[in-house]
Amino acid sequence: MKSTLCKDIVNSFVSVAKGLWVTVTHWSPARPSVTELYPDVMPELPENFRGMPTLPVNPKTGRSGCIACGACMRMCPEQIIKVVADKGDPKERKPAEFTIDISRCMWCGLCMEVCPTNCLKPARTFEHACYTRECMVYTLEDLMKLGGTLPEEPESVESEESS
């Protein structure tokens, strides 16, 4: 009886001291805060960040690798992608119109998965807020601008085109 009482007293002091030690290590300046000051400091996006689908420009051809096959349009569960093929040049298939209504996009990524030329790439941005519904509809130019220019790796696109 007496021994458990003594043990309890010692234990309670030890456990309180342990807790205080844990908090003081968090308090110390060696442990920086995890808070992100988002509008002031942009957060560092992870390597595999999956934003909205965009059409990066191939630096060799000066346009995206889209062949206007319409696979993404058919695959999209929300049916927000609209592709119209350019019939002008029969040798080369390219989109005349490519719009994504991002306001209804649910970021499932199926369009990027299904794309046969791998030209739909996730954007590394996330600030898509705006004041009207119309500005949420991204046209071909917008998508190419958002996607930026592809790095020097055009072989993969060409090999898939040829195969």
Binding site: G19, L20, V22, H26, W27, S33, V34, T35, L37
Partner: protein, 350 residues
């Protein structure tokens, strides 16, 4: 002639009252801000950093917001008691500051029963809490008030037992004289004297004091997860602000009492850093009390930081654990401690 004298006296009293109130306001504003910073850092957050540089204006902004809030009195509440309860809580928290020796000669009014005055006045606040709980006509408020009453009754006893140890050893109830008895280097402080008794009293004072000012390990009366906010559930606007103010003023008061009784009050840790020596060195006499005020505030700051550290670490205890701690642990230990101290004073200290 008589009237002029009277007016002068009243003016001086008013001046002192306003000065003490101003000090208390500034201290509370700072403590609230510092608490939010400290708890944020301990939880790996940043805390307030938007209002003004580093968020220093955050509490001012909060106070201004509270000023603008609608002052709601719930229907069914006892209007008069509901209005007067925050005042009953706030005034004792303010009155305690009267006897605290802030620095050399910086006591608003030095009472020869200062220690008793403090414990007497600071327990008036619980009446305000019970009144607030009763007048709100709300079950959470009433439960919080009952808990508050039983808690404060339970913890008043260990506080007085702990208070009486340094009083017995220094042989005076006057806080000024208790501080003067601890002059010199830091090993003259009460905390490092009379080995088992005074450090034990310090520990008891700290634990029971935390319960007295209702901070987290013992904040059973406003336990957010059980009672919405305890006795101040129905309060809003300035009345709530008064409760808040009284709570943080009490946490500074606890630090001030601990510093006065155990940590040498306004005495510097080393005699060389004291007001007399520095004044002699630099030849500036008016700095005398300001230096000691600085030491007092610094020590209080350290103790307040310690309180914040404890309050952001420990989880809330249960009601029965709270009662057990007081009646079964602190009070018996305090009584034995008192007995030991009595023997020490009679047989060793002659």
């Amino acid at each position: 002639m008589d009237l002029v004298e009277l007016a002068k006296q009243l003016g001086i009293i008013l001046l002192i009252a306003v000065a003490v109130l101003g000090f208390m306001m500034v201290a509370v504003l700072y403590i609230i801000l510092k608490l939010r910073w400290v708890i944020a850092r301990i939880q790996s957050r940043l805390g307030p950093n938007r209002t003004g540089p580093w968020g220093v204006a955050q509490t001012v902004a909060d106070a201004l917001k509270l000023f603008q809030k609608e002052d709601i009195i719930p229907c069914g509440a006892d209007k008069w008691l509901f209005t007067i309860a925050p005042v009953i809580v706030f005034v004792p928290a303010y009155l305690v500051y009267v006897v605290i020796p802030f620095g050399e000669g910086l006591t608003a009014h030095s009472l020869n029963i200062g220690a008793i005055y403090i414990s007497a006045i600071s327990s008036i606040g619980v009446i305000g809490i019970v009144v607030a709980g009763w007048a709100s006509n709300n079950k959470w408020s009433l439960l919080g008030a009952f808990r508050g009453a039983s808690q404060l009754i339970a913890y008043e006893v260990p506080i007085i037992l702990a208070l009486s140890i340094p009083i017995l050893i220094t042989g005076t109830l006057d806080l000024d004289k208790i501080v003067q008895a601890q002059a010199g280097n830091f090993w003259n402080w009460n905390l490092f004297h009379a080995f088992p008794m005074l450090p034990l009293a310090f520990l008891m004072m700290l634990i029971a004091g935390l319960a007295e000012i209702n901070v987290t390990p013992f904040d059973i009366m406003e336990a957010e997860s059980e009672l919405v906010a305890g006795f101040n559930t129905e309060y809003s606007g300035m009345k709530f602000a008064l409760f808040f103010l009284a709570e943080f003023a009490a946490s500074f008061t606890l630090a001030a009492i601990i510093v006065t009784l155990f940590l040498g009050g306004y005495q510097p840790p080393l005699h060389i850093l004291g007001a007399q020596v520095t004044a002699k060195l630099f030849g500036v006499i008016p700095l005398f009390s300001l230096i000691s005020l600085g030491w007092f505030i610094f020590k209080c700051w350290v103790v307040v930081l310690g309180i914040m550290w404890i309050r952001s670490t420990l989880p809330r205890v249960r009601m029965d654990q709270l009662m057990n701690l007081s009646w079964k642990a602190l009070i018996p230990v305090g009584l034995v401690n008192l007995l030991l101290t009595g023997a020490y004073v009679v047989f060793w200290m002659k």
